[in-house]
């Protein structure tokens, strides 16, 4: 436990000092947005046991809503983000209500299909800019006080949002609600026989996850200044699964580690190998499923648990 505490402090100090260290802040912000996305996704896959193959729909629709409100209607950062989250929450409610009627792989296929539907809506709707997406999204100001055009100010806003999401997911998982979710994940028939309205719990978890994914998408639109079809694309849904899986599903830090690895890979590999990135991502996926299904953090935790078991036996 003490090791974990020290790690937390080190990561926190590093995160706070990023603007001083000369790391490209836009890259760090992008990384944090995807870390948020992966944490939101982990709430669903890791703690509720539902594999959604369509989370790009929530990330993207919220990015589009925020971008559209900020460009066409001049909304400020906070109201535009909140509106984006509201859009993804409503979409999450609709898609979730249909998808939770089935379990397992069917659930995955249904979310995938409905996300594809969302993709086509974004492609053809009159205000989304079609193939070009929405570009030149202004970051605006925070409550009219702080100019977010400065990368440093924007970085701290994104960092604050990330910490909030991270702590929120932790809080939810440790709450009685989260315990019921885990019970449903581990043994659904027993949860039903104990009298829990399983579908309501699943739906609430789905909507929560969609809303947080929306927050990540909105912030990404403001940070990079655009919302585009790549946000709603199936590939984006796949990447968030990979981030969560690679880092470790059902661990708190796993999705963050996974997001950091995948975003860094994409950023630096695409310079070196160009279009082969997709192939590499696919290969990492296969390796992950075959060799370490618990993910990096999950395997480390298992290793640590085995070690401490061994030492307690020694005594």
């Amino acid at each position: 436990m003490r090791v974990a505490g020290v790690l937390y402090v080190l990561v926190a100090v590093f995160a706070l000092c990023v603007p001083l260290l000369g790391i490209y802040p836009v890259f760090m912000m992008k990384l944090l947005c995807f870390a948020m996305f992966a944490c939101a996704y982990n709430l669903l896959l890791g703690f509720s046991g539902m594999l959604s193959f369509g989370h790009a729909a929530f990330f993207g629709s919220s990015a589009y809503a925020t971008a559209w409100l900020a460009t066409a209607h001049g909304w400020g950062a906070v109201p535009a983000i909140l509106a984006g989250m509201a859009v993804s929450a409503i979409l999450g409610l609709v898609i979730g209500a249909i998808a939770i009627r089935r379990r397992g792989i069917y659930f995955a296929m249904i979310t995938l299909a409905l996300a594809q539907l969302t993709y086509f809506v974004c492609l053809e709707a009159p205000f989304t800019g079609g193939e070009n997406g929405l570009q030149g999204v202004p970051r605006g100001t925070l409550f009219g006080l702080l100019q977010l055009n400065s990368d440093v100010a924007m970085y701290y806003l994104v960092l604050a949002a990330f910490v909030a999401v991270f702590l929120f997911v932790r809080r939810v998982v440790h709450s009685p609600f989260g315990q019921v979710l885990k019970a449903i994940r581990d043994n659904e028939p027993r949860a039903i026989s104990l009298g829990y309205d399983v579908n309501r719990y699943r739906l609430v978890a789905f909507v929560l996850s969609a809303t947080l994914a929306g927050l990540a998408g909105s912030l990404k639109a403001l940070v990079l200044g655009f919302a585009s079809l790549s946000d709603v694309l199936q590939a984006n849904s796949g990447e968030v699964i990979l981030m969560t899986l690679l880092g470790g599903t059902g661990t708190f830090f796993g999705p963050v580690v996974g997001a950091a690895i995948v975003v860094t890979l994409q950023e630096y590999l695409s310079d070196m190998v160009g279009g082969w990135v997709t192939v590499i991502i696919g290969a990492v996926f296969i390796a992950c499923v075959l060799a370490f299904r618990r993910g990096i953090i999950g395997e480390l935790a298992a290793l640590h648990a085995r070690r401490s078991d061994a030492t307690s036996l020694d005594r």
């Binding site: 594999l51 193959f53 249909i98 009627r101 089935r102 397992g104 792989i105 069917y106 995955a108 296929m109 249904i110 995938l112 299909a113 409905l114 594809q116 539907l117 086509f120 809506v121 053809e124 199936q234 796949g238 699964i241 899986l245 160009g274 279009g275 082969w276 990135v277 997709t278 192939v279 991502i281 696919g282 290969a283 990492v284 996926f285 296969i286 992950c288 499923v289 075959l290 299904r293």
Partner: protein
């Protein structure tokens, strides 16, 4: 009567024909998915990638070795089926007994690898495959003009689909296959080589996807991404039909192709999404799918 709601009948019939062509591809792909899922419990996300691989095999066979269409119709599915056999032996067999979601994730990664490689080698722009000489030209039916190749695609795929259905439902081999789906360990105790059956099924399902790819090459452009959006539509078809039923997969594939073609006439903007809307409606009314048991 040459117009319905101000739309010429010939146009409507033409779109329905196109819809039926697409529906034949849906039917062949969802049939393969259903058989693979039934026996192995794996949702083969790479099905679209194998479909593209089939089309590329035909195209490259023609360009590099001068293999004609008729030979490609046999050779391309055979080659891609062998790739499927290798995939099952090397990768998928390690996942048996685990949560079926891992199979979905692994084949998703596989699809990325295959489609990404095709994209790197052959670029993003599509290449066209010539219609074989014997199938060029049109039938003039009087009320509409029917390109011969389209009629050929529909005829072949219906024959293949019902042939597969017949083998599975009416022959001894099919009976063994269905027994393995029901209870594999018991069948193995009776001395049937179940692992061989599994690898043959996966290879066969994949070859079916490749055959659809060869058939589609002369009507659609051959591109690296031709299967990636198709596989999502096929998933929706499978959800609508219910994965347990082979006949259900065939019928819903054809029917949804027609529905899609019809939507193109009435409200073209919705033609890309109509299958997904139908899927949502079916899930609300009958969560197990139209032909599913649960």
């Amino acid at each position: 009567m040459t117009e319905i709601f101000g739309i010429p009948v010939a146009v409507i019939l033409g779109q329905l024909m196109l819809g039926l062509v697409n529906g034949s591809f849906y039917a062949m792909l969802s049939l393969g998915l259903a058989v693979i899922f039934g026996l192995m419990g794996i949702v083969n996300f790479a099905h679209g990638a194998f479909y593209a691989l089939g089309a590329f095999a035909a195209l490259l066979g023609l360009q590099w070795f001068g293999v004609n269409y008729w030979a490609a119709l046999v050779l391309a599915p055979l080659a891609v089926g062998l790739v499927g056999v290798a995939v099952e032996r090397l990768l998928l067999r390690r996942l048996y007994g685990l949560d079926p979601l891992y199979g979905l994730l692994l084949t998703f990664g596989l699809a990325l690898v295959i489609e990404g490689s095709l994209h790197q080698f052959f670029g993003a722009s599509g290449q066209s495959y010539p219609v074989p000489r014997a199938l060029q030209g049109v039938f003039n039916l009087g009320f509409m003009i029917l390109p011969i190749y389209r009629a050929w695609v529909i005829a072949v795929s219906i024959a293949v689909c019902f042939g597969t259905w017949f083998v599975i439902e009416r022959t001894r081999l099919g009976g063994t296959l269905r027994a393995a789906t029901e209870n594999a360990p018991l069948l193995q105790a009776f001395g049937v080589n179940v692992p061989l059956l599994v690898v043959a099924t996966y290879g066969g399902g994949v070859a079916l996807a490749a055959l659809a790819g060869v058939l589609s090459a002369p009507v659609l452009l051959v591109t690296s991404g031709m299967g990636s959006s198709l596989v999502i539509v096929v998933f929706a078809v499978v959800v609508i039909g219910g994965m347990g039923s082979i006949l259900g997969a065939i019928i819903s594939g054809l029917a949804l192709g027609i529905v899609e073609g019809f939507t193109k006439v009435i409200y073209p903007e919705a033609s890309n999404v109509v299958v997904f809307v139908v899927m949502a409606l079916v899930l609300i009314v009958r969560p197990a799918g139209l032909f599913g048991r649960e």
